[in-house]
């Protein structure tokens, strides 16, 4: 079937947009008839990636964050991109509990949550250029989709 639907959302890196981004992505995802648990999983993973762009990527400065969603057959794909400071050592960044901002209440569990709640995650990043987090999750495990 190939890519069957896609959307691209660009917004200011303000923390008040975190909730809005989750609602948008969840609304786009409903086409796959996900369970409530699948929606919650994707919302959590998205929230981690968007928060990281705001907190780490831009360190509070107001720039643009891009969220791209694609539906490929029964797989939901979401990419979160920023043009912030980037990550020097991606492997280390993805270690559970690793955080460069321990004093600002970061638990270091963001990437661990993304890995736990999605089927796959891929991170590409370059210092001073930015970071892209690409995540996928198969929805419905073969359950029937239908166009209403």
């Amino acid at each position: 079937m190939g890519i069957s639907n896609e959307m691209r959302l660009e917004f200011d890196s303000r923390s008040c947009n975190e909730g809005f981004a989750r609602v948008s992505v969840a609304a786009f995802m409903t086409q796959l008839n996900p369970t409530l648990e699948e929606v919650a999983d994707v919302k959590t993973a998205l929230s981690e990636a968007v928060t990281n762009s705001i907190v780490h990527g831009y360190e509070g400065a107001i720039e643009k964050i891009v969220v791209e969603c694609r539906i490929e057959d029964d797989t939901f794909c979401v990419d979160v991109t920023d043009h912030g400071i980037g990550i020097e050592n991606i492997e280390q960044a993805m270690e559970p509990l690793f955080t460069t901002k321990p004093d600002s209440e970061r638990s270091g569990m963001g990437f661990a949550f993304m890995e736990a709640f999605m089927d796959s995650i891929e991170v590409t990043s370059k210092p001073n250029e930015g970071t892209k987090v690409s995540m996928k999750k198969k929805i419905g495990c073969g359950k029937s989709k239908f166009e209403r």
């Binding site: 923390s15 975190e18 919650a40 959590t44 929230s47 963001g110 661990a112």
Partner: protein, 111 residues
């Protein structure tokens, strides 16, 4: 300010908001820390009754307050967490270091 704060003697009960993310966490954390200072709080109950969403920012709130209370010999407890919140508490290891109840503590349904 979303959510509510109740103080009885030196115990603080925090009614957590509907959505706990980095945005709402900033406010909750600064409110709680102010109340701890101002009232010599020794134990905290986090009430998740109204909460339907939480990401790792919520874990940051809990672990940060746990450290503070633990340091002063106090306690932290989570009550009325729904299944999706419990999934996150369990995954993050929070359930191993603090008491988490599905309902109210009297119902002794600690997970």
């Amino acid at each position: 300010m979303e959510g509510g704060y109740k103080i009885r003697e030196r115990n603080l009960t925090v009614e957590m908001p509907a959505e706990i993310d980095h945005h709402s966490a900033q406010h909750i954390t600064s409110n709680i820390d102010y109340l701890i200072e101002a009232n010599g709080i020794r134990s905290i109950v986090f009430d998740f009754n109204r909460t339907s969403f939480m990401d790792s920012s919520g874990i940051g709130i809990l672990l940060g307050r746990y450290k503070k209370m633990n340091y002063a010999g106090g306690k932290v407890m989570v009550i009325r967490a729904n299944p999706s919140i419990r999934k996150i508490l369990t995954f993050s290891g929070v359930t191993k270091i603090m008491d988490v109840y599905e309902g109210l503590p009297e119902q002794s349904d600690r997970i």
